[in-house]
Symmetry: C2
Subunit: 340 residues, 2 copies
């Protein structure tokens, strides 16, 4: 099955016919979409050039999905939620794409997020598309590629693009920069565990979903949900929120309860933002962010060649052993790169 191509193969592949690829993506062909994402993830200069042209062609159609960012720590039931929520959307006649941004894949070279085996039913649906996180050397690279994969999914006619990440470090910020709505999925907790969610992440959330609101955990979920609702009310009012948002809701991904209500809230929020100009303003700001990030990453990409990495390692050793100051070693490195 070709839907999960990897960058190694793309790195060896010829540059595809971009006009043909664009037409097939606009026609909603999943195989073409998968091929294009592989192209986006490639580090090769000619692939980058082709990607830029492809994205430009596709942008002319100006198709827009609802981009939903979803964060939650491991164990909170993220895959089950995506499976249940995604199946509900499919049942409502919508096309759903699931992408993952996994900062841990920057180290291990692989990602468990977006693994299709975690979403058994969804992965078999013809109106669903699931893609794991690209593995890259830094989060910046993963972010840019994921953001471009979102644009490809939009062009391919997906109504909803779910972008999932785990609740660690900077990855929420990166995902929020490519989402229209940001959901935080949490598990029921003791009242004093509320502090465990970092304030910065709370402030990013549009809707907090307390999962596992079923069976024994229902009372705890009810209490946790009320606690978070209270905490959200204490946050500074944001211009992009209508009355009552951000809000906390209960769901059970396993029992498939509360999902329709959560979806109704997401739509209500998205509609309000569209009607009040916040939607386009936010997308404009995000585009600015990714433009600047693209430029920065391209400048830093000169450090990623085999020559540069080897030279950096040698000079780093000199610096650690006191044979050169950091400043002098940096000058030598930059001269070697032709910058200096």
């Amino acid at each position: 099955m070709s839907a999960t191509g990897n960058s190694t193969r793309a790195g060896r592949g010829a540059v595809p016919d971009i006009d043909d690829l664009a037409a097939r993506i606009l026609n909603g062909e999943r195989r073409a979409l998968a091929r294009a994402i592989t192209l986006v993830e490639s580090g090769r200069a000619d692939h980058r050039e082709a990607t830029t042209r492809l994205l430009d062609l596709l942008a002319r159609e100006n198709r827009q999905s609802l981009r939903i960012g979803l964060s939650g720590t491991p164990g909170v039931g993220k895959s089950t939620f995506i499976e249940s929520f995604g199946m509900m959307l499919i049942g409502a006649g919508l096309k759903v794409a699931v992408l993952a941004v996994d900062p841990s894949s920057t180290r291990s070279g692989g990602s468990i997020l977006g693994d299709k085996t975690r979403m058994e039913h969804l992965s078999r649906e013809k109106n669903a598309f699931i893609r794991p996180s690209p593995s890259q050397t830094h989060l910046g690279g993963v972010g840019r590629r994921s953001r471009e994969a979102v644009a490809l999914c939009e062009a391919a006619g997906f109504d909803v693009v779910l972008i999932e990440t785990v609740g660690v470090g900077q990855s929420e910020t990166v995902v929020a920069e490519m989402s229209d709505l940001f959901l935080l999925l949490l598990a029921p907790a003791g009242g004093d565990e509320l502090q465990g969610v970092k304030r910065g992440i709370m402030e990013m959330a549009d809707i907090i979903l307390v999962n596992k609101a079923d069976g024994d955990l229902k009372p705890a979920a009810t209490r946790t949900c009320a606690d978070y609702a209270g905490a959200l009310r204490l946050l500074r009012k944001r211009p992009q929120d209508p009355e009552g948002f951000p809000k906390a809701l209960m769901v059970s991904a396993v029992a498939r309860e509360g999902l329709a209500e959560a979806w109704a809230e997401m739509q209500a929020l998205a509609d309000w933002r569209r009607e009040n100009g916040h939607w386009q303003r936010r997308r404009g700001e995000q585009a600015r962010y990714w433009f600047a990030e693209d430029v920065r990453q391209a400048l830093l990409a000169r450090l990623e060649t085999p020559w540069a990495q080897e030279r950096m390692a040698t000079l780093s050793e000199d610096v650690a052993e006191g044979r050169a100051t950091p400043a002098a070693a940096a000058r030598d490195m930059l001269l070697g790169l032709g910058v200096g």
Copy 2:
């Protein structure tokens, strides 16, 4: 008084005679030290070249201070602590430099940290040197310049270099990367406020100092100190710590109590680390970090010219208005920079 030169003046100044400047710094002349720090803070290419040579000359002497990082949120009594602690060290015959790393100065263009008026007695001592945070466009730039200012203070024969920062965002990490010891200064608090200190920052601390352990606040300080001592015991043991470290201590900067005991603990920890190889290992790692950071910042510096900034603004507008994709605008920018 020339001790607080600014980068504007340096930006216009001629490149000084570096051999002479080095000799005067090694001779402990504060005016030469201030001039050199101004040179370090300059963005001019010829000044950078001169700085690199200066640092190289000074590094040959291999003088080492005790570099103490100090973090604490506003209101915790940081200036008063530095004033009292610094005066105690001066009284013990030591030379003390105080540098500031202030992330807020990256936006406002000015820093309140390191303001001499906050350290009235210390600033008048001939064996003290106080320098505010350089103002720069990004924390990376402030960090590198501060790190080089530390190296200059070491060469000038200061026994202790205090590097202060406020407890927000990434600045602690930056300061920890240039310190031998990291102190966290806290105020007495209610028992449930312990959560307010982020775990990541707790894990960086070698010694937690609970300030204001005087008068009415003494009981609260005692309880807070015990709470933090308990919290520190729960952290994972680090190889660079002898038995009993990290630890929490009480001080009163106003009443000048507990300062000698805190200093004794710092020396004990520093001695142990020197004897057990951790000191040099850490300095080596820090040098590696700053080398890599230097290279990255130099590559990104191409975006800081007036031409680049104007071009980025124009393209950013195109992107926000949907006239270009982020990828296409980035390609145009890079072509303009001659990178592409």
